[in-house]
């Protein structure tokens, strides 16, 4: 109990006491509410079983697996180039970002490194998928809190980013563009100018959302001080990404790790927030979109010329060994532990996806909150079902 925040601890004790008292007097009982598997706030098919006393949550338990697609097992019967088409579908809003850690793990096993231009373009696309992902989060946040307008702005502006991704890769949602040793293609003509325009628009979108939503008193009263995750608890539950940074932990794999990506060639900063509440999590994500647009802008200027593919054999066979590569994906740390036995496909792949760990905190976090706050907290934790169930 010492790990609980004061407010939650008091609320929990009060709720238990009230429950006991009411039970003695009126012989009432609590109500078990199934939030999901079909519920608009769960972004898919997450089920949260909540025991309620009135509108207060006594305990809540997430139950996942309704959308399990078995990607870890499926990778065992695919060759390496085929796997990217699968893992695209894990976090379906930031697809390209799912491919990169797997490809990097395979490259690590083969001892190949992509040429500098490929690394730059990878980073650009990585950040574009982060922007596409978080942009939708910012709009969806409004819907979860009852403001219907921001989501339309979010869909409008995400469209520009999806057009860019489509222009470069040919796929709006599932690019399947990353290859071992580089990329499938070079950037198309006109991409750089168009991207600059879009980045400008997105900074405008961030300002708009900040005005429309983050500055709103009701939004602040709904999110500030709600769902507080202290630093140590966040670390114990293995949280990552913006959720962790919002608790004041300065941890970003883009900066802390030496990977063949171009993050060390540009000037950007890691955003943290000391509060750890729902507002902090949303705020950190908003600022990260801004930072991402800055990263993309700089990479557009500094991309070197050159080949986009290293020398790799036509038929890829990965030598025996094991490799772990994780990157800072839109939702948090995403990593692949690839075990190879020298075949054309991996022997075993363990996928560490961010949302699965991020929602593991919900039983702790939802104790003592009200039903509307469940929605706020879930929205601010920002999970994607594909990323939980894989």
């Amino acid at each position: 109990m010492s790990l609980l925040g004061d407010r939650q601890q008091l609320a929990y004790i009060a709720a238990q006491a009230a429950d006991a008292r009411v039970n003695v007097e009126l012989e009432t009982e609590g109500m078990t509410l199934n939030i999901g598997p079909q519920h608009p706030a769960t972004h898919g098919t997450l089920r949260i079983i909540a025991r309620l006393d009135g509108e207060q949550v006594l305990w809540a338990d997430p139950s996942c697996g309704y959308m399990h697609r078995g990607y870890e097992k499926l990778t065992e019967v695919r060759s390496y180039p085929q796997v990217t088409a699968l893992v695209n579908r894990i976090d379906w809003l930031g697809s390209f970002a799912n491919e990169v850690p797997f490809i990097l793990a395979a490259e690590k096993l083969m001892g190949v490194e992509a040429p500098s231009r490929a690394q730059h373009i990878r980073t650009i696309l990585f950040e574009l998928s982060r922007i596409a992902n978080v942009t939708l989060f910012l709009g969806d946040l409004g819907v979860q809190l009852g403001a219907v307008t921001p989501v339309f702005f979010a869909f409008r502006d995400r469209e520009y980013v999806l057009n860019l991704i489509e222009g470069a890769t040919g796929g709006r949602f599932h690019p399947n563009f990353d290859r071992i040793g580089g990329l499938k293609d070079d950037l198309p003509a006109g991409f750089i100018d168009e991207t600059r325009n879009v980045m400008k628009k997105l900074r405008g979108f961030c300002d708009q959302i900040e005005d429309l939503l983050f500055g709103n008193e009701i939004f602040q009263s709904r999110t500030r001080g709600i769902g507080v995750i202290p630093k140590d608890v966040a670390l114990q539950y293995g949280m990552s990404g913006a959720n962790l940074r919002a608790s004041g932990v300065d941890w970003d794999l883009r900066r802390d790790q030496k990977l063949p990506l171009a993050y060390d060639k540009v000037d950007w900063k890691v955003i943290t927030h000391p509060d750890g509440d729902s507002f902090a999590r949303c705020w950190v994500r908003l600022q990260e979109v801004r930072e991402s647009t800055r990263i993309v802008d700089q990479l557009l200027d500094t991309s070197p010329a050159g080949p986009i593919m290293a020398k790799v054999p036509k038929i890829i066979k990965v030598p025996e060994g094991e490799a772990w590569v994780s990157t800072e994906n839109p939702l948090g740390e995403m990593g692949y532990y690839v075990v190879s036995q020298g075949d054309m496909g991996p022997f075993r792949v363990k996928i560490r996806s961010a949302s699965f760990n991020n929602i593991s905190i919900t039983p702790w976090l939802l104790k003592g909150v009200y039903v509307p706050d469940i929605i706020t907290i879930l929205a601010s934790l920002y999970f994607i079902l594909g990323d939980i169930d894989r």
């Binding site: 509410l33 608009p40 706030a41 009852g146 709904r222 509307p372």
Partner: protein
């Protein structure tokens, strides 16, 4: 022969009642619902950077009829464990509340359905009937989300009934009557500091009351930021979850029509209602008003209603939602003290001046 004498003299009582109900439906509620719905749909769409309905009719103007057609074709479903009679009754009660509210609204010097001496009192009383409909809709659906929504609605509507009544008390004190028609006359025949070309719309003197009233209306209509009973993202439309087809349509139309009717009442109480300032045409009392105001009056009232609805919906589409306890806190700790203070100040000034 004008409408009032037609409705009061020659016909038997049942025929009068029937005519009034049909009049309320055909003459007011349907056009109000349709126009409000279309206007709002387009307005909302432009706010949200999209076009809105475009296919049904020119610029989507027939959208409401298309939707009614769609809803009518749907299967009439009710949950297996629902209390069927009450389940079917609930939308009708909500709609009846809207009907009963229209009955007292004056549209012109003679264009009115009833001339209650205690019209304000009646309007505020029947507007709370809809709570009953919502509560039993939530209860009869045999659904936990609906139950939560229904209970939230009951708590919220009761909390906001009080500030609404208290806000109107200021108007009643100032006008010295509870008759809605006479409140309209008092506003337009009055003058501010001897300057009579604008009349004396109470939105100026009762500004605090107007704001409190509009907030309470927003809550009464369960529109964002007070839409916890519906709350699509939490309770999946709350008490409406289990309703489909025609019953859902009744709830849906009722929501927009009630918004329209409440806006009419707001414009009667605070914005001068159907009339123009009497000094424009040299009128002094209600009897001296020219007969053409019976045609123009409803249009003026309608324009004011659209303006008020615009503000209601503007708030609705741009604000997030309160939490239940925050809403209660806001009603009891802010709105009620403010409106009580408003009543005191109004009463003191009324006696002093």
């Amino acid at each position: 022969m004008n409408l009032a004498t037609l409705l009061s003299a020659d016909l038997p009582y049942w025929a009068q009642s029937l005519l009034r109900v049909l009049g309320g439906l055909v003459a007011v509620l349907l056009p109000a619902g349709t126009v409000v719905y279309l206007f709002l749909f387009k307005m909302m769409s432009f706010m949200q950077s999209r076009l809105g309905p475009m296919e049904a009719g020119p610029q989507g103007s027939m959208q409401l009829f298309a939707e009614v057609g769609k809803w009518l074709q749907k299967e009439d479903i009710y949950p297996a464990r629902a209390d069927k009679f009450i389940f079917k009754l609930a939308p009708l009660i909500v709609l009846a509340s809207t009907f009963l509210l229209v009955v007292v609204v004056p549209f012109g010097p003679d264009a009115l359905f009833t001339d209650f001496e205690t019209g304000v009192f009646y309007a505020l009383a029947v507007s709370s009937v809809s709570v009953l409909g919502i509560l039993i809709a939530g209860w009869a659906s045999a659904n936990k989300y609906s139950l939560l929504g229904g209970l939230r609605a009951a708590g919220q509507l009761i909390a906001y009934e009080l500030p609404m009544v208290l806000a109107v008390v200021g108007v009643v004190i100032q006008a010295g009557t509870m008759n809605l028609q006479q409140i309209v006359v008092a506003q337009n025949a009055g003058s501010m500091f001897g300057f009579s070309s604008l009349g004396n719309p109470y939105v100026i003197t009762q500004f605090v009351g107007f704001i409190v009233f509009m907030i309470a209306v927003q809550a009464e209509l369960t529109q964002t930021p007070f839409d916890m009973p519906i709350a699509e993202s939490e309770l999946v439309s709350g008490y409406m979850t289990e309703y489909s087809g025609f019953r859902f349509l009744i709830f849906f139309i009722g929501e927009f029509a009630t918004a329209g009717v409440f806006s009419m009442i707001a414009s009667i109480l605070f914005l001068g209602g159907w009339a123009v300032p009497f000094s424009w045409f040299g009128w002094t009392t209600i009897d001296s008003i020219d007969n053409w105001m019976n045609i123009v009056g409803p249009l003026i009232l309608f324009t004011k209603m659209i303006a008020v609805v615009f503000f209601i919906m503007w708030i609705r589409f741009s604000y997030p939602r309160f939490r239940e306890d925050q809403l209660q806190k806001f009603a009891w700790k802010v709105l009620i003290p403010v409106s009580l203070a408003n009543i005191m100040v109004t009463a003191i000034l009324k006696v002093a001046l």
